[in-house]
Subunit: 503 residues, 2 copies
């Protein structure tokens, strides 16, 4: 690829959610708050190194008004400055794009969650959601990205070579935007296109759940980029083999390359991480310290912890079943621990999620009834979104359980060890992305193996102090040495290398 | 491999079920009947070319008495002669081997049928079933195979080089016997070991459902063979990649070879088939002709047909949902067809199967109520095992629907076209093994795509007569040219080549 080198390139980031949320307060005045989610944190890190515009979907009336201006708005918040450009799909198109195609369709495929004997059915409704939802919203994103690429640094529209995107670096994020790249490439052939997928990539047989024209649009969409990025080498390999199996493309697994049209698409792994310093800052806040005092005051000998979004992929049920089994096998631990489960409510308008929450609540009641005493309830379930309490619990746990069925990365497994002060043991699913980096110092578990998880809980609780200390130190070290800053640098280094014509 | 060439080798076949069933009649006299299932048919074909002993599990009291004799029994039935050697696991071990591990565990994994958010749970019960069921029964099979290998052609036990199996060819069949080969190889290093897997082979991520030591035992077990055989190139590729992904073995996809210990294991595809001549013979029987007369007498303009075991993998529900959708889109076909569903009852002691049957029956009632008239019921559901009616229906169909979620081969797709006399159109799932051979002449459907299946039904019904005729002729030709005889020959040719040291 010829063109402008990386340092001179202007950034256009696109992700479904923006870095900030605009809402009208009760008096009708617009207020700005920070957007939720880990993606905002990591993309803020990217923009700190390399300022640019962030294209996102308008989710509130205030944001829809901003979208109508068809240009970016500048906003400063918590010491960061953002330029945000909103696109405003119709409520109908957004619903189809978000609630039918992205979740659950793509989410369930990419986490192997479909019960294929029963679901999904691809009917007229799903076909319509693809064509009149997902593709329409992706097109709107593409138009906004193209418009931003064509504007100069001064925000004015340009013509000529610069308008071809030769000075732009476009970063597309995640599974809502698989079909954005080709339109941007066609309109701005000089732009460098990079897409990061934050969730797992399954193997080719499982993609066959989608009708051929839909799955091919997903792959052709992604291959519109110059680089396609994942969290793990495992997902990279799965993606490359999918290109061979489903599109009959030539791939080079060793080099991480797909030959596509007359180009090479690089497919690479960059394990995302956290920023230890800012996590420590947050843990030092008054609210977090208050929460920790409370937690410490009621602490039993051991604190077991899980922190998860209430999602089927997180495998919450099997974690409690394993605790039940652990108590059957080791009644000597009765009254000596609390299993604190901090679960963020999620997608409460989707039926599967409502049912799942009910199953979790019922199971917790059963386990507590079965093993509890007049003085002790084994599981404390908190379905809430309370970051200070999470930070406090990170500091205090003896055992942190992450047993996901599938998980793009899982940042809980990285946050916990950084803040923990009890040489806590990490029990980590072999199928969380984080396992590639942390598996050697965690107790690995198969998410389906109840017996194995019950054993891992026991092993963690009886582990000699020296082993706990050395494992905890190694976990901390791996996370410290592979911070989110390194994640950004590795991606930019590859972008620079590809711009320079390297391989 | 050095040793005796193929023509001189004695055959020892092992499969869960034997070629015949011994039962006591009410007066206590033993009676012999032919065993059910397609495997008996194809292995009878093998033994016709190459006589030998068949090792099978004893399923009745009469068979258990024969097992106690610890030697093969000779039996002639329907013009075939068999030597059968029974092994008699305890009822407990057999239950664990068959009803816990083989079905549903392995069956559900290999057909991608688990609802991973909920099932399976690997608990103490499953671990126990593996160790005290599957492995124990596999060991019993191995001991019986070894004993048969060590006997001479006269049925007497031998010592010395011949007792090492140098004159034996051992053919192991299917997913119940994954762990037989290594013990046979260790005891009889001269024996040639060949295992055929009649169901799909899924990709490596899905095998991770099993605890590591179990899945590794499956792979090490299979790699104890000289040749591992599947129905399709797709399953071969999946198996080879699994060996690389899960066991870190060196594989050569182009040559179909796994390097294992100091040997090469060949992994090959041999699409199983039917014997057109004997199928035609059966269709000419009095009972089949009577059934056909009945069917013809009540025939509407079009006959749609499905013939399946009542199994989740067959995707029966989505077929009826697609018919429902077809009738919504094309009410002009009302009263003009019958959709005859011939479903064999299956595994009626397994809860999933009972629930599935209930769902099928309820849905058929719904669709019939919604679209039926005083003179017409669209779906005729027959849950029964009635081969003459199946043969009659094969002759009469205009459209044959095979929409399996996953299916090792699917012989219905081969039997139908051979007997059909209406230039019937085959609608065939892309995920049935038969699709590799027949897909070009069938209407391919994605099993999850209801809309696509409804469209395929319509397309089949309005297809011009010339196109129907040419497709039907090509289907017939492909099946005729790739009969079960060719399936046997291809395997024996490769065995001979490997014995001769070829690659």
């Amino acid at each position: 690829m010829e063109g402008v080198e990386l340092a001179q390139r202007r950034l256009v980031v696109a992700a479904n959610r923006g870095p900030v949320s605009f809402h009208d307060d009760p008096s009708g005045e617009p207020v700005v708050t920070r957007g939720p989610g880990g993606l905002v944190t990591v993309l803020t890190e990217v923009l700190r190194h390399h300022p640019g515009t962030w294209v996102a979907a308008a989710l509130s009336d205030a944001e829809r008004r901003l979208a109508a201006e068809k240009r970016a708005v500048e906003v400063a918040l918590d010491g960061e400055e953002y330029r945000v450009r909103y696109v405003a799909p119709s409520a109908d198109a957004y619903h189809k794009y978000y609630n039918v195609v992205s979740n659950p369709m793509l989410w369930f495929i990419q986490h192997y969650l479909w019960d294929l004997g029963r679901h999904p059915d691809i009917r007229a409704e799903e076909m319509d959601a693809w064509h009149n939802g997902y593709l329409v919203v992706n097109e709107q994103f593409a138009r906004a990205v193209i418009d931003e690429v064509r504007r100069g640094p001064d925000g004015r529209r340009r013509r000529g070579p610069a308008g071809d995107g030769g000075d732009a670096l476009v970063l597309l994020h995640d599974y809502q935007l698989y079909c954005v790249a080709p339109a941007v490439r066609a309109a701005c052939p000089g732009a460098f296109l990079h897409q990061f997928i934050h969730i797992p990539w399954p193997q080719s047989d499982y993609w066959r759940v989608l009708p051929e024209h839909i799955r091919e649009a997903v792959f052709h969409g992604l291959l519109g980029n110059d680089v396609v990025a994942f969290h793990t080498r495992h997902y990279v390999r799965n993606f490359l083999r999918c290109c061979a199996d489903l599109l009959d493309l030539e791939v080079d697994e060793a080099r991480g390359v797909v030959r596509y049209e007359d180009r090479e698409v690089w497919v690479r792994a960059y394990p995302v991480s956290i920023d230890p310093a800012s996590l420590r800052d947050a843990a030092g806040s008054r609210r977090a310290r208050t929460a920790e005092r409370k937690l410490r005051g009621r602490r039993r000998e051991f604190l077991l912890l899980r922190v998860d979004r209430l999602d089927l992929s997180k495998n919450i049920i099997r974690g409690f079943v394993a605790l039940d089994r652990f108590l059957e096998l080791h009644p000597e631990f009765k009254e000596r621990f609390t299993f604190l489960a901090l679960l963020q409510p999620s997608r409460e308008d989707v039926e599967e999620y409502v049912t799942y929450r009910e199953r979790v609540e019922r199971l917790v009641a059963d386990v507590n009834t079965r093993h509890g005493t007049t003085d002790w309830m084994p599981i404390e379930l908190r379905i809430q979104d309370d970051f200070p309490t999470t930070l406090a619990a990170y500091a205090q746990y003896d055992v942190l359980l992450v047993n996901a069925i599938a998980d793009g990365m899982n940042l809980v497994a990285k946050e916990g060890p950084i803040l923990n002060r009890h040489d806590g043991v990490l029990i980590l699913s072999e199928y969380a992305g984080a396992f590639e980096e942390l598996g050697a110092f965690a107790l690995g578990v198969n998410p389906f193996n109840i017996e194995g998880q019950a054993e891992a809980i026991h092993r963690a609780l009886v582990m000699p102090p020296e082993e706990r200390a050395s494992r905890a130190a190694m976990l901390r070290r791996v996370v410290e040495e592979n911070s989110v800053e390194k994640w950004v640098q590795a991606q930019f280094a590859d972008i620079a290398a590809k711009l320079a014509g390297g391989a």
